[in-house]
Symmetry: C2
DNA sequence: AACAATGCTTCTATTTTCGTAGCACAACAA
DNA sequence: TTGTTGTGCTACGAAAATAGAAGCATTGTT
């Protein structure tokens, strides 16, 4: 259970940002939330949006993100909670940074 | 090798932000960079800052982050590259969000 | 009744991560 | 010269996380 004020991997302090890093540092969590930005998605919809994550892992993540109150389930499927949506807003500028990163690295596909 | 414009887990598009998520979604990467915000750290210094990550994993991460040009090695130890420092600046507002998150969740240690 | 879609669970296999130990090199001290 | 200390790592077995495929129960539709 990864929540703020709880000790997490590599930090017993429970400092909120560390809990966040521990949560986001688990594969798919960030991506899952990102895919929910534009609105609700079903379990299978999310799965395919993420390129076929295995359902067992995804289910675990969905539970974890629900406990952390970052997503909620509605009759439309899974959605960001208001809190989760705010987090995604904070992350939005990363799109710009990532483009710059790509161009400065100059990687060819 | 996780770089922008390269296909990554769950996305063959090579869209920069996906590469970023794949990179940051690997354990310790985000935390390692975060610990470098305030200046250079030695290998072992970084290791203990992160609560004793195993050196083999950490070494792998350091290589990965170097390839991605987010960190560099100086005689002072490992440091953020200008690009990496910019990323951390973008992430800085998360501190505020995380506090709010903690208070709204109301978790007791 | 048959079909399709949804939200999962279960299983095994592979990959990642952890944790400890230790090596090779450099700087310094005795 | 011989320690000792600090550094950046590598090696290796064990544990945990992730992947991938299959399938089940429920709901709704035809």
């Amino acid at each position: 259970m990864v929540l703020p004020n709880k000790p997490v991997r590599g930090s017993t302090s429970g400092v909120p940002i560390m809990a966040l890093f521990d949560l986001l540092g688990q594969r798919w969590n960030l991506r899952l939330m990102w895919e929910l930005r534009q609105g609700p998605k079903t379990f299978r919809g999310l799965q395919s949006a993420c390129g076929g994550v295995s359902p067992s892992v995804m289910n675990g993540r969905l539970k974890m993100l629900s406990e952390a109150k970052l997503i909620v389930q509605s009759d439309q499927g899974y959605t960001l909670s208001p809190l989760g949506a705010e987090l995604m807003d904070e992350l939005d500028p990363l799109r710009g940074w990532a483009k710059k990163w790509a161009s400065e690295i100059g990687t060819k596909a």
